[in-house]
């Protein structure tokens, strides 16, 4: 709110009416800050029509155009006004950056979404993204009783540098907090999974950001960050099923540990953004906390309770009061109950060991080598066996590699998906499919976001012509690492197997785009 005020004050001298007619400007700014584009448009467009030469109108017009993703016009207006900085945000720089970044973008649309994506490989994301977002929209409408009208723009960005240029976050903040997508300026911005070494759960993330968009609209941007993120985190899996499925075993363990040690991230610390938290671990903990808070609320009162709270918040009631009122207890009681709930919440399988640090491909602080991942295995001897397996694998000695990976697995179990995946690959290549499948199935339960596990599973199922099973496995892999051509080649084969010629054709084309070669009929033999 303070920021909004500052922005208004900065713009006041620019407004034509000045102190005499501050209301339209104020309303326009408030609407833009609330991402209420319709209201903003209703105020600014007449201003701009009546006073096209007014600097204040130009600034507001530029801001509006920026929110409308009409970047060239935004730049023109803001440049004409000779100023673009307002409320600590340099709109001119943002508009220029957005114009430059999206200059060659291509577009695809569904009923409620418009995807803007760079030409090339990102094309493979589009159909999945549109389907997931439409599904999410429907689910949110069911849950929150609201869905925005019109089309929402989703911009796919090549890397975190572009995300930083198009947002108010710095590159360091993005890397530190592991932020990969944002909902801001009336649009969703998603970093391409290509920018991460192993990809990420990009569809859940898109759904997460869209939930932010809906909540912002639903509550006129009055929702505090903890509740905002809690609802988004809880709901991000709604497009594919129930909510609250996204809590990773590691995050759950982190949460339980923090509760025991009383080292939770407070709601206040989460403000103004999760991306401003000091580390990925802190961000993960905060997300886990708020997700469990919403889960608790859901358990207490279901969809109706959450809807009631949002109604209060939309009405201007502080969230704490809204929660207390909806629950019929004090907010402190809610906090105490929530903590108890967190402490008692059972850990998901493998929760004590999972450690997934996001790795950006162009980050020099992250290891690039083939063996850096072994460092995650704390058991020294297991690490040694894993390395030996790797040595054998590099020499095509699959049978020996299987034995060495197997020794490592016997010491640490299926906790390390990288190890399980390699073991499975070696087992498959040395004729031990059943062994591979058992290991993969176990690891995939605890590491659903590890694409290689699903890919290997997909291979196995393709081999025995379990087309549906293969399709499921490859789709799971695609949720994380959609740029692997083998996934799409596998999907093409699976679709062929089930008689879905259209999907087969599309996936074959995607595989071709990604690999630069026609899709083969034998997906095995990919890089591992």
């Amino acid at each position: 709110m303070r920021r909004l005020l500052a922005l208004a004050l900065a713009l006041l001298p620019l407004a034509r009416a000045g102190a005499d007619e501050p209301e339209p400007t104020r309303r326009a700014l408030e609407a833009l800050a609330d991402e209420d584009l319709a209201t903003a448009r209703a105020v600014i467009e007449p201003l701009l029509a009546e006073h096209p030469e007014d600097r204040g109108a130009e600034v507001l017009g530029g801001m509006l155009r920026f929110h409308e993703q009409r970047y060239a016009e935004a730049v023109e207006l803001l440049e004409k006004a000779g100023a673009g900085r307002a409320g600590g945000i340099d709109y001119l720089a943002l508009a220029r950056a957005a114009r430059d970044v999206t200059r060659d973008h291509q577009h695809a649309e569904s009923e409620h979404f418009r995807v803007s994506y760079p030409p090339g490989k990102e094309e493979v994301l589009v159909p999945y993204l549109l389907d997931a977002l439409e599904a999410q929209r429907q689910a949110l409408q069911d849950d929150l009783g609201y869905a925005p009208e019109g089309k929402v723009t989703v911009e796919i960005l090549r890397d975190v540098r572009e995300l930083a240029r198009l947002s108010t976050l710095t590159e360091d903040e993005i890397r530190t907090s592991g932020t990969i997508a944002l909902c801001k300026f009336d649009k969703l911005m998603i970093t391409s999974p290509k920018a991460l070494v192993r990809g990420y759960d990009w569809l859940d993330t898109a759904a997460h950001e869209y939930t932010h968009f809906v909540v912002t609209q639903r509550t006129r941007n009055n929702t505090p960050i903890w509740l905002h993120e809690g609802i988004a985190k809880y709901s991000e899996t709604r497009w594919r099923g129930a909510g609250g499925q996204s809590l990773s075993p590691w995050a759950a363990a982190l949460l339980q540990d923090a509760v025991k040690k009383d080292k939770l991230v407070t709601f206040a610390q989460m403000h103004p953004s999760m991306a401003k938290l000091p580390s990925q671990e802190a961000a993960s903990l905060a997300f886990a906390e708020v997700m469990v808070a919403v889960e608790y609320l859901q358990k207490k009162g279901g969809r109706a309770l959450l809807s009631r709270i949002l109604d209060h918040v939309a009405g201007g009631m502080p969230a704490e009061r809204a929660v207390a009122q909806a629950l019929g207890v004090s907010f402190d009681s809610f906090l105490a109950d929530w903590k108890r709930y967190m402490a008692a919440r059972p850990l998901p399988a493998g929760g004590d060991t999972e450690l997934r640090r996001l790795r950006f491909q162009d980050d020099p602080r992250q290891g690039h080598g083939a063996h850096a991942e072994w460092a995650e295995i704390p058991d020294e001897r297991a690490r040694g066996f894993a390395r030996l397996g790797e040595i054998m694998r590099e020499r095509g000695r699959w049978a020996a590699a299987r034995i060495e990976y197997g020794k490592a697995m016997r010491r640490v179990g299926p906790r390390y998906p990288v190890l399980t995946s390699k073991f499975a690959l070696a087992a498959m290549n040395s004729g031990h499919d059943a062994e591979a499948e058992a290991a993969l199935a176990e690891a995939a339960r605890t590491h659903p976001h590890y694409a290689a596990l699903h890919v290997n599973m997909g291979r196995l199922r393709l081999k025995r012509q379990d087309w549906k099973g293969a399709r499921d496995a490859f789709l799971l892999a695609n949720r994380v690492d959609p740029f692997d051509p083998e996934i799409h080649a596998g999907l093409a084969l699976a679709a062929e197997g089930t008689g879905d010629a259209e999907a087969a054709s599309r996936e074959r084309r995607f595989a071709q785009i990604l690999s630069g070669r026609p899709a083969g009929h034998e997906p095995a033999g990919r890089k591992e």
């Binding site: 290891g367 690039h368 080598g369 063996h371 040694g384 390395r387 054998m392 020996a400």
Partner: protein
Amino acid sequence: MPPAYGEIERVLRWARRREARILLLAASALGLAVALLVALAGAWALARGVGHAGAVRQVTLSLAAFCMVGAATWAALSLLRRASSPEATARSVGRGAPELRSDLVSAVELSRDYGGLAAQGYSLPLVDAHVERAAARVSGLDLGLAIPATPARRAGLALGAAAALCLVALAVGGKTLGRGFARLAGLGPPAPVAAPDPITGDVELTFLYPAHTGRPPRTVSGTGGEVAAPRGTEVRLSTRADRPVEAADIVIQGAGVPSVRPSTPGPAGPAERVYSLEVKDSRQLSGRFLVDEPGSYRFRFRRGSKVVAEGPPIAISVEPDAFPEVRITAPAQEVEVDASARVRVDWSASDDYGLKDLSLVVKPPAGPEERRPLRTFESTRRESGSFDLDLAAWKASEGERLLYWVEVLDNDDVSGPKRGASATQVVRIYSEAEHRRRMLERAQALWEQLVRLLGDRLELPEAAPRPGPERMARAQALDGRARELHENLRDAAAAMRKERAAPRAVIDALRNVSSGIRAAEQPLSAARTTALRLAGTLPATEGLWRRISDLDASMDRELEKDALYLEQLLDKERAQDLVRLAKDLQSRRRDLASLLEKYRKAPSEEARRQLVAEISRMKARMQDMLRRMAELAKGISDEHMNAEALAEMARQKDALGGLDKVEELLSKGDVEGAMKELDALGSRMQEMLSRLERTAGEPDEKTRELVKEMRAFRDQIARVEKDQEKLAGETEKVRQEYRKKLEEQLRRMSAQAGRLEKLAHESREELERAKDGLSPRAEEDFGKSREALQDLEKSLQARDFDAALESVRKALPSMQRLGLGLEDDAQLAERFPQPLGQKGPLELREAGRHAQRAMSPARKVRDELERLFPDPRSVLSQRDQQKLDAYSQRQRELERQAGGLRQKLQELSEKAPVFPPQSQAMLGEAQGHMGRAAGELGQRNPQRGHGQQREALDALGRFRKGLEEMAKNARGGSGQGFPFPFAMGGEEGREGDDGDLSHERVEIPGAEAYKVPEEFRRDILEAMKQGAPEPYKPELQRYYEELVK
């Protein structure tokens, strides 16, 4: 055609052929005979020079050809006449067989006209009958008679006669006629050559040689005038004409002009040089000429300008002036030295007349050849010497090659000096990086071998419950490969040890790994061999299979551990190599900057060219280095080389780009800009170097942990050693007390040593008598007893009573076993018949008696010696005894700690092959001595207790030094804390370390500090047994006594 005409036709065909053959033979032989005669006549004419040679030859050849053609024509005409048609043939046949002529001719004619005979009114049956009769007669005809071969025979005879005539003529006419034939055939000159007759008498020649040959003038008389001398020689000649002459010349012809001319004098040709001769008394001729080229000269007499006589050509040959030769005799064709080395080059040069200048030519890695004069000679034909090739002058870098050779000129000032050059030699600048790279490659190849072996072992099918023969064979083959790997590793370590640049840690690691593999392989191979031998009979549950399985697992563990450790170590070494390479690159940049600075201060075109050449050289070097850096980085796993460093590698390519920029600016004359660019390049390189250094020095978590444990282990060893040292010092005090009390007894015993020696000798002699009656079972005890008694004798001779007592104590039990055993054998032999060749009971019993008798003198010796060494308890004070008790307990505690250390060592060894298998034995040895020391101290024996303590300390000290060496190596690298391998001394030796002087403090032991180790003492006694030549015996005795004191 009448039916019978076929037969006539056949006979006529044959007749025609025979006629043709005879005619052809006759014509050929006749023609050839006449041609031979014509040729003979022509050759005679040519040989004798009759007529014009050309015309004679033409006529002769034409005539001969005419004869041949004539003969052929005759043959053709005759054939036409006689055999051109059946009628002609019939007539020819008829001439030889007149009785047939008419019938035959008419039969042929009738047959020819057969078709029209009927029209003409002939009776065809009659014609047929006539023809049939003629055919019948013809079929019996002898063609040999009808067509005789007489003409051919006659012609053959004529040819033979002509050939014989030619041969006779050749025999008579000899070479002259032969040359005539040759000329006729177109070989040799067309006319006979008549050598002109000499027109002078003997020639006296005086040779005045050119100065550079150093040869004195020489006069030779009575010669034919032939000249052989070096070019530039002045020849003076005198001779006497065979007739009075008015004027005379000598005409010199070069080798290109025919030296032989027809006798007819002619004018001098263009290649001729004419020198006038001085004529005295109408006949005495003298003159001179200069030898310039090979050829000939001849005398020519003139009357006025008219040549009246010309002598034959006389040869002039020029003695060749050989090219000078120079050789480099040392060093070898290619040597590798340091960049600042001075290479001593030995050379030897020679020339047939004389040497003049010697120069050294060097072709540096960049730039043109450089020539430096080395020596100038004064009239010497052969010379040798040496010079130092100072490599510093060329500022060559590691790995670069300089080519050099020596050139020499001879002193030929007539034709000009000739140049000789030695073979091109090569000096390669020693490159530590290159050597290290090669060694690391070798180690890497061995690592690959190890990994292959491990892979093959792992892929061996499961053996449960009992391996089949095929698996056994494969497993045995793998055991063989393990042995081979052990040998390869050991050999590689030994070879690397000789290399200056050898990474010590890699050598030690290879040795440790080699030993570890050997230790695992030996029992495995042995067990497998046994199992293979018994395979058919061993049940599947037999423990041997389990043991083999355990040993197999142990071998796999060993290989796994080795593979991981070696990989890390090699990565580490490569990372350090990268740092070295980067430093070298940086230093080159500084050199370039300094050159640039010089150029800025004093610019010149020459300096600029130098600078550009240097940049180009540096670029080439950088490219090479970057390539090698890339090669090195390729195999590095990022436990040692993280992404940051790898990204840095990519950034280095910018360095090369920077150098391009420097070059470009320099070419534009922008020196300031070039310097700035070079500075910027320097900063980038410095940053890169720092990062590489940091990266190369970072150990991973595992190694850090291991190093921590090893440090703790080393500290523990040091503590135990310190405590042991302290305890030994305290024991030593008690021991001194004891020795003081023993001194008097020792002196007394020395006087009795002779008697004891005699007893010992007596005992051994008696034992020797038992030898002939020994049973096989008794041989071992006999051997032991004899050996111990021999030791006893030697110890007594050396007055080492301590050792003597030990020996006799060792001898007595085996002697007793021997006596009793032989008695048992004798009894057995009495009761059971002995197999052929076994000893009988009498012999056995006799031998047993000798063994028993030998015991008595030995016991006496023991008793005497035991009296000499009284129980310390009877000598030492109560207080000292209590002290020894306490020491014994402390010693036990130390032994226990040593046991703990061994356990720890085992644990560390399982983590990485940093310790060789012998290290366990070394620590075990220390522990053993500690245990024995505790026992001796418990028995109140400070003498022996202290000896054992010193031995324990010795073993501990050796072990600790190895640990310190490891720590030093770890500090030596740029990295901190990598667990470098433990280097064992001992049996495998350090053959390559002769040149290394250790700067460690050396403890010089005091005279009483050591008890002579048992093994050493035994060796000396063994040596004493070998005996010595009589004159040396006293000296040797004294020497041995000193040694064992």
